[in-house]
Structure formats: structure tokens, C-alpha cells
Symmetry: D2
Subunit: 109 residues, 4 copies
């Protein structure tokens, strides 16, 4: 995949959206499901917000900066929870959220 | 359809999202397409934002108030442009946007 | 909300999409979470598919019949699982899925 | 962006979804807008379908194969129209659609 035509922010958002979808889906199959309630909720929210943010960024929507500001918060919130869990999908999701929050903050500035 | 289990805000968002989708789609078929560029762009943005806002409202996302604040702005922006055109789909969309902006502002407060 | 400008199928899809979102979200807060894994997964899938189906129906996409056929299957699958649980959100979701499957099958025919 | 944890199909779908969004948005700004009606409509449809397909693929939805089959058709349909236009965004979109159709057909098989 040649991503060179998408902004760093759009790419980070898409990466994060898919990582969150993966994490929520994997959490729903874990034995320790009881511990993952909060993680699943935050991942689902973050996946949706990042998905829309990537699209708005890509089409240069006049609301993209406000969306990026909101997306950065959703990413922080998700990373905070995912970062507590040792599952590989959680660690990977937390890392994607941190990168996405960083790119979104640059864009929102 | 019994909508009684959905909040007024979620219903207004969904109504507006579908009205915007309808309007953008109808604009693309108009003879006076040249005049509708801005209307189409704003409707597409507003349709996506309202759709996500309805979902976040429905699941009581911790970010729903911020999303509602953004949604209200996108609705105002779309209503401003749609309101200029006499086409029935534009007038109907502008009205849906105004109602949605009002409900979203109540929720964001 | 005046829904008279949306087709019965688009309305049933939107209703079902929000009912599935509500159900998945409520399941994640239930004490008997362990029993709800499958329900949550099916609801999340169905919510996304119904949401897109409503939009495609609304803009009269050339792929709306195929989307309706797929949506009907996703609704059946979700209703099958939700229908097993006595929680009010599950019963309501199962009912919304059944109605949506019916409308989608009419449209796909 | 490290994409190695996403399937080739999910990546192709996301790439195509963003390329379609970019193309529709750029078409709306072209002087020769009149010629681009069909292109915009097909790109918007394809962007939405690819976006959902990527997500369903990523979470291994039981409906992912049917969604991939539908997505491949939407990609073909979009590539057919975009391929007629010399604008760089159209050519790039047509290419993304062809690659996505190929990956989706492998997955649907």
C-alpha cells in the first residue's frame, strides 16, 4: 500500500481506528472479560471517532481541526485504559492511540 | 417505527443525517449543479457528523457533549447554505439541520 | 420527528442500528457479562451494517438491494442471539432486528 | 505507520476508501464538474462500503466474505467511471479500486 498521498494525521487515525476495532474484538474473546469492560467501551468509541476524523482530514473539512481536537482526547482516554492491560492487542492499541493523539494535536493546533 | 426509546437528540441527529444524505444525492442530479458545490460538501460533512453523534448519544459516550457541540456547528453551517436554495430537498435539509442544531445545543449545555 | 420522507426500509434500518448500539452498550454493563459476548459482537456488526444500509437506501445506491440482502442476514443473526436473553434491551433489539430483516427482504426482492 | 498487523485486504479497503473520499472531494472543486456527477456518486458509495469492509475484515465478522464480494463490485463500478477521467485524483482512485477489488475477491473466494 502506497500511503504517500494521505496525510500523517489521516494515516495515524486510520491505523488507530483499526487497532481499536481489533482490540475491542479480541477483548470480547478474552477469558478475563470482566476486566475488559471499560477497555471495550473506550476502544469502540475511539474506533468510530478516528474513522470519521481520517475522512474529515482527507477531504479537508472545515471542521477537521475541531474533530482532531476531540479525536486526540478520545485517543488519550483509550490509551489510558488499554495501557493498563498486558494483552498484546491492548499494548498495540495504546501505542496507536498515543501516536494518533500526537498527530491530531499537531493538526488541531 | 416506535422511536420512544431514543433521545430527542439522537432522533434529530439521525433525521438530519438522512436529510443531508438525501439532499447531497439529489443535488448531484440537479441541472444547476454548478450552484450546488458548496451545498453538497456541507451536506456530506453534516451527514457523517450527525450519524456519529446519534450513535455516541445513544451509547452515552463520555464524549457526547463535545460531539454535540461540534454537530451543532456543522448543522448551522449546512443550514446556512441549504437555506439559500429553493429546491425542496434543500429546504427540508435546512429545516432538519436547524432542529438538530437546537437539540444538540441542549445536550451540549 | 417527521419521518415521512424516508422509506420504511431506511427507517427500519436506522431504528435497528440504534437498538443494536443501545443493546451492545447495555450488555457491556450487565453483571452477567460472560453470557453476553456473542450478543455484543452480533449487535456491533448489525449496528454498522444497518447504518450503512439506511444511507444506501436513502441515496438509492445501485448496490442497495445487495446491501439489503446482507443486512437482512445480519439482522436474523443478531435477533437469533438477542432473542435468547430476557434483558429488556435484548428483547427490544431482537424485535427491531426482525422488523428490519423483513423490510430489507422486501427491498432486496 | 506500521501496517503489518492488518490484513492485505483491510489495508486495500482503507486505502481505497480514502482515495475515493479524496477523489469525490476533488471532483467537487473541478471546473468540469458537470462531467463528474457519476464519478462523485460512485466514489461516495465506494468510500462508505470500503470503510465498513475494512472494519468487518479487521474484526473477522462472520459476514466479511459477503461484504468483500459486495465491496469488489462497488470497486469495479467506481474504477470503471474514474478510469475514464484524466484527473490525477481519478486515476489514483481507479488504481486503488482495482487493487481493492482484487484483494476483496481473494477474501470472498
Amino acid at each position: 500500500m502506497n500511503n504517500s498521498h494521505f496525510s500523517d494525521c489521516a494515516q495515524a487515525c486510520i491505523h488507530c481506528s483499526l487497532a481499536c476495532t481489533t482490540c475491542a474484538s479480541a477483548c470480547l474473546k478474552e477469558q478475563h472479560l470482566e476486566m475488559m469492560r471499560e477497555c471495550i467501551q473506550r476502544c469502540l468509541d475511539c474506533a468510530d471517532i478516528c474513522q470519521l476524523c481520517a475522512r474529515m482530514e482527507q477531504k479537508q473539512s472545515p471542521f477537521r481541526q475541531e474533530m482532531c481536537a476531540l479525536c486526540a482526547k478520545a485517543c488519550d482516554y483509550c490509551a489510558e485504559e488499554c495501557g493498563k492491560h498486558q494483552d498484546e492487542h491492548c499494548q498495540r492499541c495504546a501505542e496507536a492511540c498515543r501516536q494518533c493523539a500526537q498527530e491530531c494535536r499537531k493538526m488541531a493546533a
